[in-house]
């Protein structure tokens, strides 16, 4: 049926897009709004996802399944926040590139711990029981297809809800005196400190809150995919999130959402390219025919990704939105008057 095809294909991408946007939003708090350079966000995401997987596989679910499912969200946030604290406190003495390398190291260490720990399923990963479908089938007595439909709709709402909650938390934070302290740190750390901003306190806060929100996205991801493995939380996933933040604008939540949709949609849309479309990618005379080796556009999404990135960096080095936010009200408001010239200055 057509409805099912739409639901299962686009629904799947919608859920993963929600997770990606949530992750990019919380990374924007750390890298964009506070000016710290973290390359370890995928690590916090992974901690959240593994926390959920362990909680749902190790403990006997059955009757308590729904309760454990609900518990997996706060617990994943907590586990990731704890990691944020452990990494943040020693690492925040480092600046710029050193912080980036330390956080990158953290992400890789976690991945290797997972690969080498049989409790965490080694490189095979862990599979997560499907609590929602089981509940729909057993408690509500739905048939298999209806249960699958219900599950998909549930996760679409959940993923959108988590992304919206993340946005709301971060937006409210940034529109407060605490948020102004965070931006002040980015703009001029010394001046901020002299105006009474406790640097350590706010940097740790930013790191821990960013990690907790990444952990929440991890819980959604693990529950939805019903499978976690070390390679899902690798460096490349971290880079993709970082590119979304940079492309959208370091310090713009709406920019992150726009760039998140663009970057997530790129490979999905390319996958629609007809198989007959072939792009010559390199020349090799030992090959048959005219020597040109062809590829389908869908195999070349990373090339398009790079081109998109280069175009944005060339045209708008501050990102699509810079540090501004998009709002309908602002579109209709007139521009503020230019600053009057000061006499004699």
């Amino acid at each position: 049926m057509d409805f099912d095809r739409l639901l299962f294909f686009w629904g799947h991408h919608f859920v993963l897009l929600g997770v990606t946007v949530s992750l990019a939003l919380s990374l924007n708090l750390i890298n964009g709004f506070c000016g710290l350079f973290s390359l370890g966000h995928q690590g916090f995401w992974g901690v959240g996802a593994y926390m959920t997987a362990v909680l749902l596989t190790v403990l006997p679910s059955g009757e308590a399944g729904l309760f454990l499912f609900a518990l997996s969200f706060p617990l994943s946030m907590f586990a990731a926040a704890l990691c944020g604290l452990f990494v943040g406190v020693p690492c925040l003495r480092l600046r710029g590139d050193y912080l980036a390398i330390a956080t990158l190291g953290f992400g890789e260490i976690l991945r290797n711990v997972a690969i080498n720990s049989s409790f965490l399923g080694t490189s095979q990963g862990l599979s997560v029981p499907n609590v929602i479908r089981t509940t729909l089938e057993q408690t509500f007595g739905l048939n298999r297809l209806d249960a699958r439909r219900g599950e998909m709709i549930f996760y679409m709402l959940l993923s959108a809800g988590v992304a919206a909650l993340t946005l709301l938390i971060l937006r409210n934070l940034m529109r407060s005196a605490h948020g102004r302290a965070i931006t002040a740190i980015r703009d001029d750390e010394t001046a901020a400190e002299l105006l009474g901003v406790n640097l350590t306190r706010y940097k740790v806060l930013v790191f821990v809150l960013g990690a907790a929100l990444a952990g929440l996205a991890g819980a959604v991801y693990a529950n939805y995919q019903r499978y976690v493995s070390p390679n899902q939380f690798g460096f490349m996933q971290g880079v993709t999130i970082l590119v979304i933040v940079v492309m959208g604008g370091m310090g713009s939540f709406t920019g992150t959402i726009v760039a998140g949709v663009l970057i997530y949609a790129l490979p999905v849309l390319l996958s629609f390219a007809p198989g007959t479309w072939q792009v010559p990618v390199f020349y090799d005379p030992t090959q048959g025919g005219d020597g040109w080796v062809h590829r389908s556009p869908k195999d070349l999404w990373q090339v398009f990704f790079s081109i998109l990135l280069i175009v944005v960096v060339l045209l708008r080095p501050q990102g699509i939105m810079g540090t501004r936010e998009f709002s309908l009200a602002a579109l209709f408001r007139r521009k503020p008057p230019a600053p009057p010239k000061e006499a004699g200055a």
Binding site: I169, N172, L173, S176, A177, H178, G179, R180, A181, T183, A184, D187, D188, T190, A191, A192, E193, L194, L195, G196, V197, N198, L199, L205, T323, P336, P339, P340, K341, E342, G344, A345
Partner: protein, 266 residues
Amino acid sequence: MSEGARVDRGDAVLSARGVSRCFGGLTAVCDFDLDLFAGEIVGLIGPNGAGKTTVFNLLTGVYEPTRGNISVRGCDIGRMKPDGIAGLGVARTFQNIRLFRDMTVLENVKVGCQPRKRQSLLGALVRSKHFRAEEAAFEREALELLEMMGLSEVRGVQAGALAYGQQRRLEIARALAGRPKILLLDEPAAGANERESADLQALIREIRARFDLTILVIEHDMPFVMGLVARLLVLDHGETIACGTPEEVRAHPKVIEAYLGQEAAK
């Protein structure tokens, strides 16, 4: 400064005793003594490189003194960080303007409210009543300060786009937003013409009275300081070579020598 003077005028709001700061082999500030009493305006002058800005950096915790101790309102600030000292009511401006250039003028002033914020993080996230009341108060007071500094018109403009004189006044507004008790001004009249520096003098007197401030001001513009302060200290090569009323200092042989030496070198 004799002990007698101290007792006469009540306890100092800020005092430095034998404060020195070395950078490698260079002693930027040597055996510096200072008592600031509530409500006074004191000048700090000296040739280029005398160590004036270093004194500000020591008083605000940017540098730790190599020797000596500093106390603010009875609190020893020896190992305190700048944010803690700001919390005791010390605010400053900078010789090389350090505004948050990408923020608007109004946002800059609101950042200055940091030492006074009482809102909890949770309150901010759920936008509690107390949070909204505090934010409204910050906004209102920031607008008042901008009004006073003649910056109301430009409140929505990026700070980096302001004219030089406006940026200097914005730094003062931002410093005042934290309701400090002690204000340190590092060359507030730099780059100002005669009329502007006269206005600035009046402005500094006004804020002193209105906010109950004690002010320490570094300035190269002699008529400006001489007309503003009751007493001043002269630094040269990190040493305090003279202190007293403007007349005493002007007539002091060491001061004449330090300034003449500088003129001769030019």
